[in-house]
């Protein structure tokens, strides 16, 4: 499907163990040039290990990976000049000022802030009023903008971001993704990891990771499509009795899955002949006449939960 495009990243059968912990169990994927690619998963899924191998900071035990056509093990020296990397931990110099950090990162890549200022202008101008402030004294949102500026100042051909939005409030997360969207529009290939499922929709394609494996690899719409059965959103309505609703749905003998999603409960039924009216009359019997039921399109989180559950079921068999 993407053979016409150049691949920025090619990963085949990567394995990485830490002692007895199997962090990556044979991971394979490709990222095309100019894609905004999301690695989605919880802590311990293997996201950071994958990103560290791709940024030449960690050696794989087995398998191969190429970034920009360069082998991550043999070509690490060449590759390091061409990638941008924003690690999960804030790792700029806390006792240098905003401006000093940026100048330093430009200098170690043999360039200047002036030469590449156009790349970061959009992001950096928001923190420029604080350019003499020590990086350690910045707010979380400002640190994030500085770290991104420093990762971009040498004009990388590909950008890796490890959980840039973890622990960041909902408003700042939105702003950060708007920045990434603009970088993507400029043609930069971006690989970003996140534990927030709702951020998947911002990506061109995503890999859903769980316990060192990729459970799904597709566009967000393609991932949602894998869900493969009618999904209903049930809400308690005006009563606001969400917990009672959850308990009632779980108690239904026909329930296949009952998963809370904020103000709604997402529900699937065992019966092929199922109609929402069946559920309505059941909930009425349970004293939840206000409940509202509608069929909805599954999201990425619905699919991941479903994939995780079926994986666990297989294990138990």
């Amino acid at each position: 499907m993407r053979s016409a495009r150049n691949m920025s990243v090619t990963v085949s059968n990567l394995v990485k163990n830490y002692g007895t912990i199997r962090a990556l169990k044979s991971v394979s994927l490709e990222v095309a040039e100019g894609e905004l690619f999301g690695v989605i998963g919880a802590d311990g899924a293997g996201k950071t290990t994958l990103l560290r191998i791709l940024t030449t900071l960690l050696l794989p035990d087995e398998g191969h990976a190429q970034v920009l056509g360069i082998d991550v093990v043999n070509g690490y020296h060449e590759l390091r000049k061409r990638i941008g990397y924003m690690p999960g931990q804030f790792s700029l110099y806390q006792d240098l000022s905003v401006e000093e950090n940026l100048t330093f990162f430009a200098a170690i890549f043999n360039t200047t802030v002036e030469e590449n200022y156009h790349l970061i202008r959009d992001i950096y101008h928001r923190i420029e009023p604080f350019r003499t402030r020590r990086a350690g004294d910045l707010s979380g949102g400002m640190k994030q903008k500085l770290a991104l500026s420093c990762a971009l100042i040498h004009k990388p051909d590909i950008l890796f971001l490890d959980e840039p939005t973890t622990g960041v409030d909902a408003v700042s997360r939105r702003e950060f993704w708007e920045m990434l969207g603009r970088l993507r529009a400029s043609g930069l290939t971006i690989i970003v990891s996140t534990p927030y499922m709702d951020e998947a929709s911002r990506c061109d394609r995503v890999a859903l990771m769980h316990h060192g494996q990729i459970l799904g690899l597709d566009t967000p719409a393609g991932i949602s499509h894998q869900f493969g059965r009618p999904l209903y959103a049930v809400s308690a309505g005006r009563s606001g009795r969400s917990y009672q609703l959850l308990k009632a749905l779980r108690a239904s003998p026909h329930a296949r899955s009952v998963i809370s999603f904020g103000e709604q409960v997402h529900y699937t039924d065992h019966r092929d002949s199922f109609r929402p009216e069946f559920l309505h009359s059941y909930l009425m019997q349970q004293g939840l006449a206000d409940a509202h039921i509608e069929q909805i399109e599954p999201g990425v989180e619905d699919t991941l939960i479903s994939l995780m559950t079926s994986r666990d079921d297989e294990k138990q068999r």
Partner: protein, 246 residues
């Protein structure tokens, strides 16, 4: 301050750091047995407020009572009557599950008999009886989170403070964690929780939203959505916090 239905009563509580006012005259009550969501953007003042309510930081001005105790003069009593769990704070990796529970039970002043009894009860409730003698280091993150929560309530506190308890856990564990919180609230322990997952705000009985050191909104999720004409709490949050902290 008289209403006995309230487990937390806060009146014009303020904390300054030099010229900076981190918490600016906030007033609110938390009812006994409710799940109270304490939301706000990064830097809005949540952590400072929680540190005052848990007796770890003296306010600049204002009053507050937590579990009936004054935060200025009775902070030691507060500490004995609350539970606390944060994402960063975890159990001791090189102790077993049972040893961790014994340790925290001891810290909270429970007797040996009581600790043994509570350990059995809590592990049974979590379905984790089989791992009581395993090292914490060997357990999956989701189990650790649930165990950390259980140790935070081992002494049946009047109120438990949870600071981003579900950060980074997988979507199934996140929901199991909320089940634990519902059960805990059903048994009468008040749950005071912070989160960056806006869908979780919908699970709270009431939600407060802090912006720049002040509480700008406090209501049930249904009430907030009506007041702000929003479809969900996420939209309410964005409306209030946008233009606040960058």
């Amino acid at each position: 301050m008289k209403n006995n239905g309230n487990i937390i009563e806060v009146n014009e509580l303020t904390r300054k750091f030099g010229d900076f006012t981190a918490v600016d005259q906030i007033s609110f009550e938390v009812k006994r047995g409710e799940i109270f969501g304490f939301l706000g953007a990064n830097g809005a003042g949540k952590t400072t407020a929680i540190r005052m309510l848990t007796g770890l930081l003296i306010p600049t001005s204002g009053q507050a009572r937590v579990a009936g105790f004054d935060i200025y003069t009775e902070s030691e009593s507060i500490k004995r009557n609350i539970g606390y769990m944060s994402q960063k704070f975890s159990l001791f990796n090189d102790l077993t599950v049972a040893e961790n529970m014994r340790f925290y039970g001891g810290i909270y002043g429970l007797g040996n008999q009581e600790i043994r009894h509570k350990t059995i009860e809590l592990l049974d409730r979590l379905g984790l009886t089989g791992v009581r003698n395993r090292l914490i280091a060997d357990l999956p993150l989701g189990w650790k989170q649930k165990l950390a929560f259980s140790t935070a309530v081992i002494h049946d506190p009047a109120i438990v403070f949870l600071d981003e308890p579900t950060s980074g856990v997988d979507p199934i564990t996140r929901r199991q964690f909320w089940d634990l919180m519902y059960e805990t609230a059903d048994r009468g322990t008040t749950v005071f929780v912070t989160t960056h997952y806006m869908d979780e705000a919908e699970y709270c009985d009431r939600v407060s939203i802090m912006v720049d050191g002040r509480i700008d909104a406090l209501d049930s999720p249904v009430g907030l959505k009506e007041t702000y004409g929003a479809r969900n709490v996420d939209e309410v949050f964005v409306k209030l916090a946008r233009g606040g902290v960058s």
